[in-house]
C-alpha cells in the first residue's frame, strides 16, 4: 500500500451516496489515501437540505459510479433530473467559487446529461455531448489503457502520460452533438484521457476502445480544468495488487511504478491544497456569464 501519503487536512471532499450509487467506499478511500477528508453523505440528505455543512464548505465534489435509479431511461438520466431541479444552482455556485468536481462512470454520465460538461464558455446547463450505449451492447468489466493529453488544462490529470484502469459500464460511448463540438473539445484540449492501444495511440478498435467512443474519448473536462468526468474507474486502482498482472510483476521486476488511480485523486487534492497554501485567492471561473 502506498505510504507516501501527504497530509492536506483542510481538503474536504463531499461524496453523495445512495439511490443506487455504489462506488462510494473505494472513492472515499482513494481521497483518504492522498490525505483528503471525504464525507459520504446520502444524496437525499443533500437534496432535502439535511446536511450540517454547506456545499461551499467543501473543496471537492465527487460523483461516484453506480446505477442511480438502475440507469432506467438511460444512464444517469433520473439522477441528473433530480440534481437539475433540486440543487443545481448550488452546484453552479460551487463551480463558480472555484470548487473541483470529479465524476466517475455514473457520475460522469449524470454530469453530461446535466450539461455540466463540457462547460464551454461557462455554460454548464446545455447538454451538448452524450454517453450512449456501447457499440457492443451490454455492461463489460475489463482493464483498458489510457493516454493523457499533457496540454490539457485538466487539474486531475497533471503529469499523467499513461494509465491503466478498469472500464466498467454499459453506456460509455462518447457522442458529440456535432462535429464542431468535438473539434472545439480537441482544440481546447478538453479531452484529457483517451482509450489507447498497446503503442499508446488513441484507438477506435475494440476491446482497447471498449465502447466505440468518438475520438477515443474516455474523459472530458471543462475549460477551467477543474470539472472532470471519466468513464474508467480510478477508484478501482488504489493498490498495486489491484492491477490484473500484479502477481506476475512480483517476479518480472516490472514492479508497479505508477501509482494507478491514486494519481488522479492526488492531483485533485494537490490542486486544492496549492490554492489553500498560496496566499492568492481562488482563480475566478474563466467566464460565468453563461450561468443563469
Amino acid at each position: 500500500m502506498p505510504e507516501r501519503t501527504v497530509r492536506h487536512p483542510k481538503v474536504r471532499v463531499l461524496i453523495p451516496t445512495g439511490l443506487g450509487l455504489n462506488c462510494e467506499i473505494e472513492t472515499a478511500e482513494g481521497f483518504r489515501l492522498v490525505g483528503a477528508k471525504p464525507d459520504c453523505v446520502p444524496l437525499l440528505d443533500i437534496l432535502n437540505r439535511r446536511i450540517e455543512r454547506r456545499l461551499l464548505d467543501y473543496h471537492i465534489l465527487a460523483f461516484v459510479g453506480g446505477f442511480a435509479f438502475g440507469d432506467h431511461l438511460g444512464a444517469g438520466f433520473v439522477y441528473a433530473n433530480k440534481i437539475r431541479w433540486k440543487i443545481y444552482d448550488r452546484i453552479l455556485e460551487f463551480i463558480e467559487a472555484g470548487g473541483l468536481i470529479i465524476g466517475i462512470c455514473n457520475g460522469f454520465q449524470m454530469m453530461v446529461r446535466l450539461g455540466m460538461l463540457p462547460g464551454f464558455d461557462g455554460d454548464y446547463r446545455t447538454p451538448s455531448v452524450a454517453l450512449a450505449p456501447n457499440d457492443r451492447l451490454g455492461y463489460r468489466d475489463a482493464w483498458i489503457q489510457l493516454v493523457a493529453d499533457d496540454k490539457s488544462p485538466c487539474l486531475w490529470t497533471r503529469g499523467l502520460h499513461k494509465i491503466e484502469l478498469p472500464a466498467r459500464h454499459g453506456e460509455g460511448k462518447f457522442v458529440a452533438g456535432s462535429q464542431d463540438i468535438l473539434q472545439k473539445l480537441e482544440e481546447n484540449h478538453q479531452i484529457p484521457l483517451r482509450y489507447a492501444d498497446d503503442l499508446g495511440q488513441p484507438t477506435q478498435v475494440w476491446p482497447n476502445n471498449p465502447n466505440g467512443s468518438a475520438a477515443a474519448v474516455a474523459g472530458i473536462c471543462d475549460p477551467t480544468g477543474r470539472v472532470f468526468g471519466l468513464m474508467p474507474h480510478p477508484d478501482a486502482y488504489l493498490y498495486p495488487f489491484q492491477h490484473p498482472q500484479w502477481s506476475r510483476r512480483r517476479y518480472s521486476g516490472e514492479s508497479a511504478v505508477e501509482e494507478g488511480g491514486l494519481s488522479i485523486f492526488r492531483n485533485g487534492v494537490a490542486a486544492v491544497s496549492d490554492r489553500l497554501t498560496s496566499a492568492t485567492p481562488a482563480t475566478p471561473v474563466s467566464s460565468s456569464h453563461g450561468v443563469d
Binding site: E26, P42, H72, W85, K86, R136, S252
Partner: protein, 1011 residues
C-alpha cells in the same frame, strides 16, 4: 386519461440495441432480417380524476426531457418519421414488476415538482420496428427472442396497419375482484376430497399432512382461546395456506429430515434418522468439538440456525456466506427468475445476525447445451434463451446492487433441460459487535414491534415455496414468478445499514419464500408468538385476499423486530432514506401466531403445531453401483484429443459472458475471476479483501462434478470437497480455516407411481451425504450452511427428464496477507514444473470419455447417461492427500511456489494448458516418471481426472528447498517453463503434444464464443 409518449434514437445515431437484436435474430433464428430499430413507450395513466391533471404543456416538457438532446427524439402519441415493414410491440402482463415505469415516475415528479402518489401509474413497453421480415417471421422472432409470453404481451402488425390504428393505450392494470376476508376450509370430506383441496389450492401437501391438519383443528378448534375469536374447528384459508408453505419441502426440508431405510448393494437395511442431522449437522458438530478442544479454539460463530453460516475472520468482522438455488422460476422466466435468485440471496446474509454488509456474489449454472437441437418439453424455453436470460438477470441484479462477483461457472448436460439449476450466493461481513452486543445475536422480545420494510406487496410470487416443491409442467403457475428490483433493494439496504449501526432493531430476517407468513412465523418462534394486522400492509394495488398478502413473495422486503421505544427513530430514519417501513403488529409470548384484518380474526395458529406439527416422512432408499461401458477404441493421437477437449463447453473459457458481470466494484478484488497475461483463464480461486485498510483476505472456490453422480454419488461429493480445497490451496489460503456450503439439487427422490426409481435417487442422496461427510471430516472443513432442492425435473411427452443429481460444494477460506496470494500462470522462463500427487486411472465420468461417446456418435437418448461413462470415478484417499496438502501449504507459505493449478475436468493436460496460457509462456514436459509409476497409458495419464493433484512451478534456484519441504509426498519434476510459446509434452522421448499457445488459446475460447 392515458397519455402516450414514444422515445427513439435520432436518425443518424447508431442504435446498438437494435443492431444487437437484429444480429440475434439472424444468428439464432436464421431469419433474413435487414434492420431493427427500437422505441421506448411510456403510458402515463391518470387514475384519480380528482387529482391535479397533467397539463398539455407539462406533457410537452416530459417528452422534451425524456429524450436526450444528443441521442434521441420523442413525441406525444407516436413518432411518425420512420417507416418500417413490421412493428412488434412488447409490454408487460398485469402485475409484472415494471421498474423502469417506477423510475419514470420519480423523474416526472422531479420535473413537475409535485408528488404523483397513486393518482398516476406509469407503464413501459417497447416497440421493434423491423425490416426484412414478414409478419409471420416477426411473430416467431417475438415469441422466440424478443418476449417471454409468461410475463409479457406481444402485438405484431404490419407497419401500415400499425400506423392506421390509434396509438395503443391499453395499460396492464391489475384488476382484482373483491375477495372475502375469511373463508373456512372444510376438511371433513373423503381422502380424495383432501387431496383435491391440496391440488386445487396449490398446497403441495400430502394426504398424511392434510389429515394431520384436519385432526389438529378438530381438536384445538374447541379451545376457548380459539372459539372466543370466532374461529372454529375448520382452518381458515389463511391458516391452511400458512401451514402449507411452512411445511413445504422448500422450507421444511422434509426429505433431508426423513427417517430413511437404506439398503446398499443388497446389504442389510440401515435406518438413518435424518440425513441432515447425521451427515451435515453431525459432521460440523464433530469438527466444532475438535476445534474447540485444540489451541485456538473453534472459529465457527453461528451455523444452521440463521439465514446463513457465520465464521470468525478478524477482530472487526465475521464472514457470512450463503448459496441458494432459484431453479423453477428461472425455467419459466430466466431473466426475472435468476435476478430474483441473486437479489434474493443477498437478503440472506443481510438477514443473518443483525445484518451483514454484502461483499461478493457467486453464481453457477447447470444448463442444457446452448447448441441443443432436439425437442423441448412443452412450456419450456430453448436452453440458449434460458442461458442468456439467466446470465442477464444475474448480471443486472449483481451489477445494479454494486456487488462484485467472485466465482462463476457453467456446466452443460442435456438432462438440465428438465430444469436449469441456477446457483446464486453471497458473502457478507458481519460486524463482530453492533452496539454492545455481538453482531450474530438476534433476539426479538415480546412487545417488540413487527415492522416490514422495503417494497410493497403484490400478487407476484404467490406460492413460490410450494411451487418449487413440485415438478414443472405446462400448467405451472406464472404468478410464481417475481422480477427483482435491485435498486429498491439497494436503497433498503442503505437504510438498514444506517438503522443497524444505530442499533434500532433487535432482530431481522428476510421476506423470501412464504413472504410475511414465513418471516413473521420464524421470528415469532423466539418470543413464542406474534399478532399482526394484515390490513396495515402496504400494497401495490387493492384486491388481494389476506392469505395472498400473507404469502406474497413480492421482493425487496425485510421484517424487523423493533423495541417500542426505538420505533419512532426507526420510522423517521426510513422516511429520510425514502424507504417504506410499516408497523404490522407485535411479537407476543402467548404461543400463537395471531393474524387479523383490522378487528376480524383470520388466523390463530398454535406455534408448536405450525413449526413442529408436520409428520415425519419415512422413506425407502437403495443404491447399487452401476457400471457403464468404456470406449471400445481410444484415439492414438493425444494432441487431437487435447484440442477437441479444449473447445468443449464444459472446459472452454466462459469469459465472454463473465465479462458482463462486475468483479471489482468496492475496490476489494485481489485475485480476479479471470487471470493471466490476457486475463482470459479462469482463476483456480479468487481472493478479496474484507475491507480497505486491512490486508487479510477471503478466498473463494468451489467443487462441482455432477457427471460422477451416475457412477457413484459418494465420489461426486468427495471430489467436490477435494476440488474446492485444492483450489483454496492454489490461491494461497491456509488449510486451517476453510468452511464449506453444500447445495444439493436432486431429481425427486421419493418412490411413487410417477417416480418408480425414487428409492434409487434417494440412495444416491445417501451416498452423496456419506462422501461429503468423509472428506469434510478428514480435512476439518465444517459445513456452515446449505440448501437442498428436490424436484428438479420436467415431463417431456409423458416421460420424465430429470437433472443429474448435483452437489455443489462452495468453499470460503482465509489468507493472512493478500499480497501472498498465488495465481495459476507460469511466471518466468526456466522455472521448474512439478506435478504433485498420484495419477491413477480415473477416467470414469471424465470429460475425455464423454467426448469419445459423442465423437463416436453414441449419443445417449435424451434423459439417459452418456454411453462411455466408464466405471472408475476418482476417489479421495485423505490419508494420502492431507499430508501432501500440508506440505504444499508449507512450501507456499515459505514462498517457494510461483504458480499453482489443480487438475479437474480434462485432467493434467488441461491444468498444464491453463498455466501455460495464463503465463503466455510455453513449457516442456515429460510424463515418463508419472506414467511409469502408475503403469498408465499416455492418454489416461493426460486426461484422467484423479483428485489430489497439483501443477506447480518453482524457480530453479529454490527447487531444492521446495523438494525438501515437500518430502515425502509424491512429487514429480516433469519439466520447465520455456521462453517460447509452445507447449510440448513427451513421454520417454516420444512427443505426445506440441502446440503453439495461440492455437490452444483459440480452441479454449472457441467453445462458447458463439453460444
Amino acid at each position: 386519461m392515458i397519455h402516450r409518449i414514444e422515445i427513439a434514437t435520432k436518425p443518424g445515431i447508431r442504435e446498438a440495441r437494435g443492431e444487437h437484436v437484429a444480429a440475434q435474430i439472424r444468428r439464432y433464428l436464421e431469419l433474413p432480417v435487414k434492420r431493427v430499430r427500437t422505441r421506448d413507450v411510456y403510458l402515463i395513466e391518470e387514475v384519480d380524476p380528482l387529482a391535479q391533471a397533467i397539463s398539455s404543456s407539462e406533457l410537452q416538457r416530459i417528452v422534451q426531457h425524456f429524450s436526450d438532446p444528443v441521442l434521441q427524439i420523442g413525441a406525444i402519441d407516436r413518432i411518425v418519421d420512420a417507416v418500417s415493414e413490421v412493428v412488434v410491440a412488447v409490454g408487460y402482463r398485469p402485475g409484472v414488476a415494471d421498474t423502469v415505469g417506477k423510475s419514470a415516475k420519480v423523474a416526472i415528479e422531479d420535473l413537475l415538482d409535485r408528488p404523483l402518489t397513486n393518482a398516476v401509474q406509469i407503464y413501459t413497453s417497447r416497440l421493434y420496428l423491423i425490416d426484412g421480415l414478414s409478419t409471420e417471421q416477426a411473430q416467431r422472432a417475438a415469441r422466440d427472442l424478443l418476449a417471454n409470453p409468461v410475463i409479457q404481451t406481444i402485438q405484431v402488425s404490419s407497419y401500415p396497419d400499425w400506423l392506421e390504428r390509434e396509438p395503443e393505450r391499453a395499460v396492464p392494470r391489475v384488476l382484482l375482484g373483491d375477495t372475502p376476508l375469511t373463508v373456512q376450509i372444510d376438511l371433513s370430506g373423503s381422502t380424495e376430497d383432501l387431496l383435491e383441496i391440496s391440488r386445487q389450492s396449490l398446497l403441495a401437501l400430502s394426504l398424511v399432512e392434510m389429515e394431520t391438519i384436519r385432526d389438529h383443528f378438530s381438536g384445538s378448534g374447541r379451545d376457548p382461546r380459539r372459539t372466543a375469536l370466532g374461529l372454529s374447528t375448520l382452518p381458515t384459508e389463511v391458516e391452511l395456506q400458512c401451514l402449507a408453505q411452512t411445511w413445504s419441502e422448500h422450507c421444511k426440508h422434509k426429505i433431508f429430515n426423513a427417517e430413511i431405510t437404506y439398503r446398499e448393494e443388497g446389504g442389510a437395511p440401515e435406518v438413518i434418522d435424518s440425513l441432515f442431522d447425521t451427515y451435515i449437522r453431525g459432521t460440523t458438530e464433530d469438527i466444532d468439538r475438535n476445534l474447540a478442544a485444540n489451541e485456538g479454539g473453534s472459529w465457527l460463530v453461528s451455523v444452521f440456525h440463521d439465514n446463513a453460516g457465520v465464521v470468525e475472520f478478524d477482530d472487526q468482522v465475521h464472514l457470512v456466506y450463503k448459496v441458494e438455488t432459484h431453479n423453477s422460476p428461472s425455467a419459466l422466466d430466466p431473466y426475472g427468475g435468476a435476478m430474483t435468485g441473486i437479489v434474493g440471496v443477498n437478503r440472506d446474509p443481510f438477514g443473518t445476525g443483525r445484518g451483514a454488509d454484502l461483499l461478493i456474489n457467486v453464481w453457477g449454472y447447470c444448463l442444457a447445451s446452448p447448441f441443443y437441437k432436439g425437442i423441448l418439453p412443452r412450456g419450456l424455453l430453448h436452453p440458449r434463451r434460458i442461458r442468456d436470460g439467466v446470465h442477464q438477470g444475474v448480471i443486472d441484479g449483481g451489477n445494479q446492487s454494486g456487488i462484485p462477483y467472485g466465482r462463476g461457472w457453467e456446466i452443460f448436460d442435456d438432462r438440465y433441460l428438465g430444469k436449469p439449476l441456477v446457483f446464486c450466493g453471497t458473502v457478507g461481513v458481519l460486524p463482530t459487535m453492533i452496539g454492545d452486543s455481538p453482531g450474530e445475536v438476534k433476539q426479538s422480545n415480546p412487545g417488540d414491534l413487527v415492522v416490514m420494510v422495503g417494497g410493497r406487496i403484490g400478487a407476484d410470487g404467490i406460492h413460490g415455496a410450494t411451487f418449487s416443491s413440485a415438478a414443472l409442467d405446462e400448467s405451472s403457475p406464472t404468478q410464481a414468478v417475481q422480477i427483482g428490483d435491485p435498486i429498491t433493494q439497494k436503497m433498503m439496504f442503505d437504510f438498514l445499514i444506517a438503522a443497524r449501526d444505530r442499533n434500532l432493531y433487535s432482530s431481522i430476517t428476510d421476506n423470501g419464500a412464504g413472504g410475511l407468513s414465513s418471516s413473521v412465523g420464524e421470528m415469532a418462534t423466539q418470543t413464542g408468538g406474534a399478532r399482526i394486522d394484515l390490513s396495515k400492509a402496504p400494497l401495490k394495488y387493492s384486491g388481494l385476499a389476506p392469505w395472498e398478502i400473507f404469502l406474497s413473495e413480492a421482493q425487496e422486503r425485510m421484517t424487523l423486530a423493533v423495541p417500542p421505544d426505538q420505533a419512532d427513530e426507526l420510522l423517521a430514519l426510513a422516511a429520510r432514506y425514502d424507504v417504506e417501513a410499516t408497523v404490522l403488529g407485535r411479537f407476543t409470548d402467548d404461543g400463537f401466531l395471531h393474524v387479523t384484518w383490522a378487528d376480524e380474526n383470520i388466523a390463530h395458529l398454535d406455534m408448536e403445531f405450525l413449526h413442529s406439527g408436520n409428520p415425519k416422512l419415512c422413506l425407502e432408499a437403495r443404491w447399487r453401483r452401476q457400471c457403464f461401458s468404456e470406449p471400445a477404441a481410444r484415439p492414438e493421437d493425444c494432441q487431437e484429443t487435447l484440442l477437441a477437449l479444449l473447445s468443449r463447453p464444459n472446459i472452454s473459457s466462459g469469459e465472454a459472458k463473465a465479462r458482463h458481470y462486475d468483479h471489482e466494484v468496492k475496490g476489494l478484488t485481489v485475485i480476479k475471476p479471470y487471470s493471466g497475461v490476457h486475463n482470459d483463464v479462469p482463476a483456480e480461486a479468487t481472493v478479496f479483501l474484507a475491507r480497505h485498510g486491512s490486508k487479510r483476505g477471503i478466498v473463494l472456490s468451489e467443487g462441482v462434478n455432477p457427471f460422477l453422480s451416475e457412477l457413484d454419488p459418494f465420489a461426486m461429493a468427495a471430489t467436490a470437497v477435494d476440488e474446492a480445497v485444492r483450489r483454496q490451496l492454489c490461491a494461497g489460503a491456509g488449510l486451517d480455516r476453510i468452511a464449506a456450503l453444500d447445495n444439493f439439487c436432486w431429481p425427486d427422490p421419493v418412490l411413487s407411481h410417477d417416480t418408480p426409481d425414487g428409492d434409487f435417487k434417494l440412495g444416491q442422496l445417501v451416498r452423496a451425504c456419506r462422501g461429503l461427510q468423509e472428506v469434510c471430516r478428514s480435512y476439518s472443513v465444517p459445513l456452515i450452511s446449505g440448501k437442498d432442492s428436490m424436484k428438479n425435473e420436467s415431463i417431456l411427452e409423458g416421460r420424465k427428464i430429470a437433472v443429474l443429481p448435483t452437489l455443489l460444494v462452495s468453499a470460503i477460506g482465509q489468507i493472512d496477507d493478500v499480497r501472498t496470494a498465488l495465481t495459476l500462470d507460469f511466471k518466468m522462463p526456466g522455472d521448474m514444473i512439478y506435478i504433485l500427487g498420484e495419477t491413477g486411472d480415473h477416467t470414469g465420468g471424465s470429460e475425455f470419455f464423454r467426448y469419445l461417446g459423442e465423437r463416436d456418435g453414441r449419443h445417449g437418448e435424451l434423459g439417459k447417461s452418456s454411453p462411455y461413462l466408464g466405471s472408475k470415478p476418482p476417489t479421495v484417499d485423505c490419508d494420502r492427500t492431507l499430508p501432501l496438502y500440508r506440505a504444499l501449504r508449507g512450501a507456499i507459505r515459505a514462498g517457494y511456489v510461483r504458480s499453482a493449478s489443480t487438475p479437474t475436468k480434462g485432467g493434467l493436460a488441461l491444468a498444464l494448458v491453463r498455466s501455460a496460457l495464463a503465463g503466455g509462456l510455453g513449457a516442456s514436459v515429460d510424463l515418463a516418471a508419472i506414467a511409469a509409476a502408475n503403469d498408465l497409458d499416455s492418454d489416461v495419464t493426460l486426461f484422467s481426472e484423479s483428485n489430489g493433484r497439483f501443477v506447480v512451478s518453482v524457480s530453479a534456484q529454490e527447487s531444492r528447498l521446495f523438494e525438501d519441504c515437500m518430502q515425502p509426498a509424491p512429487m514429480y519434476p516433469v519439466g520447465q517453463v520455456d521462453p517460447g510459446t509452445k507447449l510440448t509434452i513427451h513421454r520417454d522421448g516420444r512427443q505426445l503434444v506440441s502446440l503453439e499457445l495461440e492455437l490452444l488459446r483459440t480452441q479454449f475460447k472457441r467453445g462458447l464464443a458463439d453460444a
